[in-house]
């Protein structure tokens, strides 16, 4: 029963998204027929993620005050 409902949910999600995807392609087709390609602007923004290991000296235990010390 659980599997059936999950499958039904998946199917309904698929239908929604499929309908939407069709809309997306319709938009694309309209653009093509007008022969005016949409100009694109390249904006490259990368967030740099840095993992930091903070331990009390001579111990591996993490201190509990991290948000206050950075």
């Amino acid at each position: 029963m659980k599997a059936v409902s999950a499958r039904a949910r998946w199917f309904s999600v698929c239908l929604i998204v499929l309908a939407f995807t069709v809309a997306v392609y319709r938009v694309r087709a309209q653009q093509s027929s007008a022969q005016v390609p949409a100009p694109t602007i390249r904006v490259t923004t990368h967030m740099v993620l840095v993992d930091v290991v903070v331990t009390e000296s001579r111990a591996s235990r993490p201190p509990d005050f991290i948000p206050k010390i950075l």
Partner: protein, 510 residues
């Protein structure tokens, strides 16, 4: 506070330890597959890599015993680990699990093996082992003292010259053979790191890669980075016998780094953006050998990725325990660099804390490489590699369902998480995607039987983009049904960045 090349950056995100780990999700319905993090590794991810190609046979046995003891005596409930082996290609011994019994069984299954590309008779445990410039193992033959029949006096000048030239030719051949073997090992290792970057890169948070090895064939350290005083102090023993230039990595490691600088730089960038910290564990344990350069390479690999090296110490399992302890003391900072020029150059990072008495450990820098501008990137090769990886690539995540269609074909539905795809901005405020979808059928023996692909470059309005972000991007593909097909491998590639996601699934019965 975080500095990039000495300039303070504005921190945009701060994630406390453990808070960016995905929570486990309910099981997927039958016939639906996903490479999303919650299905790959809910919780912090640690990978143990047993490196057989860079580790002599006897050291592999010692390391295996140590790892078995670690699992038996020190593995804590809730710790999650996967075990891979590098025996040529990368292999998966055990997928992510928190069950120590499963890990123990997997490690017991692992049989140490002779090194690939090892040179017969070469003392691979020593620093000279893989160095083509080291003295040859060909027995030196001095024409003047050679025990030729009748004694050396019987050798005329012509014969002595011949013996000398043969000896030189043999030494030259052996040197070339050793250099080739080292090069092959380094290439296999680099490929394995790229595979791991694809497999781990999409899992949120820091991933610890515990690399149990006897020797790293190259370092990720940039050619122009200067060592800090602390690093020089840590490496003092090796500085006593080597100049700083030599010390930057082992001789062979430095040679490979020079000849493959571009690929190494891009691999380092992938590992950094995938938040993979490397913990090299010297499988040789406590050693009085002269393997100083290789230990230094391990230290450098750890420094560059934010991990720690555990070298020249007994009880190497303690190094594994330390890696797990670091996992629970990790915090993630994020910032948008003030310097927007992605010129591929190395940028040094420094994290400072306001309080004394704490140790701060993080990666030392990163290469400012725009993934859309990678020079050595080959999209077809990247996809082919991802399809044969031993675990799903996670840089693009999606769900998929395969079922027989009414038209007699095998229908495949992809539902891609659009937040894992890059876009270009359109002038009308919309977005443009560039995505390729692949499906390949494989036989039971792993032979590719057939493949199909679709390319999609939709431009969407801003409001439609929000909908796609919320619901995903769906694409349907039909494949011919083949009786001998057993496995279905699916891939989605972001054609701008080259990032790939893959899923392996059994072919449904038709």
């Amino acid at each position: 506070m975080i500095e990039e090349n000495g300039k303070v950056q504005k921190i945009a995100t701060f994630v406390p330890a453990g808070e960016n780990a995905p929570t486990s999700a309910p099981p997927l319905p039958p016939g639906i597959y996903s490479n999303r993090p919650q299905y790959r590794s809910p919780g912090p991810a640690t990978v143990m890599l047993l490196d057989a190609i860079n580790t002599p046979f006897k050291d592999q046995s010692y390391a295996r015993r140590q790892m078995l003891r670690f699992i038996q005596e020190q593995y804590k409930p809730g710790q999650r680990m996967a075990v891979f082996t590098l025996t040529g290609p990368l292999n998966e011994l055990q997928d992510f699990t928190t069950d120590p019994q499963i890990l123990h069984t997997a490690l017991q299954r692992y049989i140490p093996r002779p090194q690939e590309f090892a040179i017969a008779g070469q003392p691979t445990t020593s620093i000279a082992g893989g160095n083509p410039t080291a003295p040859s193992t060909v027995t030196a033959v001095d024409p003047a003292t050679a025990p030729a029949s009748g004694g050396s006096s019987t050798l005329g000048p012509g014969m002595a010259q011949l013996v000398d030239s043969v000896q030189q030719a043999l030494q030259s051949f052996e040197g070339a053979q050793a250099a080739y073997a080292e090069d092959q090992r380094a290439i296999l290792t680099l490929n394995a790191l790229n595979s791991l970057a694809r497999i781990l890169g999409g899992l949120p948070g820091r991933k610890n890669l515990i690399w149990v090895t006897g020797n790293l064939p190259f370092s990720l350290i940039p050619e122009n980075r200067n060592m800090t005083d602390a690093e020089l102090t840590e490496s003092l023993p090796s500085l006593q016998v080597h100049s700083v230039e030599q010390h930057a990595a082992g001789n062979q490691a430095a040679m490979f780094r020079q000849s493959h600088a571009g690929e190494i730089r891009e691999t380092a960038a992938r590992l950094a953006s995938g938040e993979v910290a490397i913990y090299p564990i010297d499988a040789r344990g406590l050693s009085i050998s002269t393997a100083i350069d290789s230990q230094e390479t391990m230290r450098e690999m750890a420094r560059e990725t934010g991990g720690r090296a555990y070298v020249n110490q007994n009880e190497v399992r303690m190094g594994v325990e330390r890696a797990f302890e670091d996992q629970s003391a990790t915090y993630t900072l994020g910032y948008y660099p003030e310097n927007k020029k992605y010129d591929g150059k190395y940028r040094q990072l420094k994290v400072k804390v306001k309080r004394d008495g704490v140790d701060v450990q993080s990666r030392r820098g990163y290469f400012a490489i725009d993934p859309t501008q990678m020079k050595d990137y080959n999209p077809s090769q990247e996809l082919a590699s991802a399809l044969v990886d031993v675990a799903p690539a996670t840089l693009v995540t999606f769900r998929a369902q395969a079922k027989p269609s009414a038209n007699g074909k095998l229908g495949v539905d992809f539902l891609v998480d659009a937040d894992t795809l890059s876009t270009e901005d359109s002038s009308n405020g919309g977005k443009k995607f560039s995505v390729s979808f692949f499906a390949a059928l494989y036989s039971a023996t792993g032979k590719m039987l057939k493949n199909e692909s679709i390319r999609a470059n939709p431009s969407v309005k801003a409001e439609d983009y929000k909908q796609i972000l919320q619901h995903g991007m769906m694409v349907h593909m039909d494949l011919d049904q083949l009786a001998e097909a057993k496995d279905l491998r699916l891939a989605v590639r972001d054609d701008r960045t080259g990032y790939v996601g893959t899923i392996n699934a059994p072919v449904p019965a038709h």
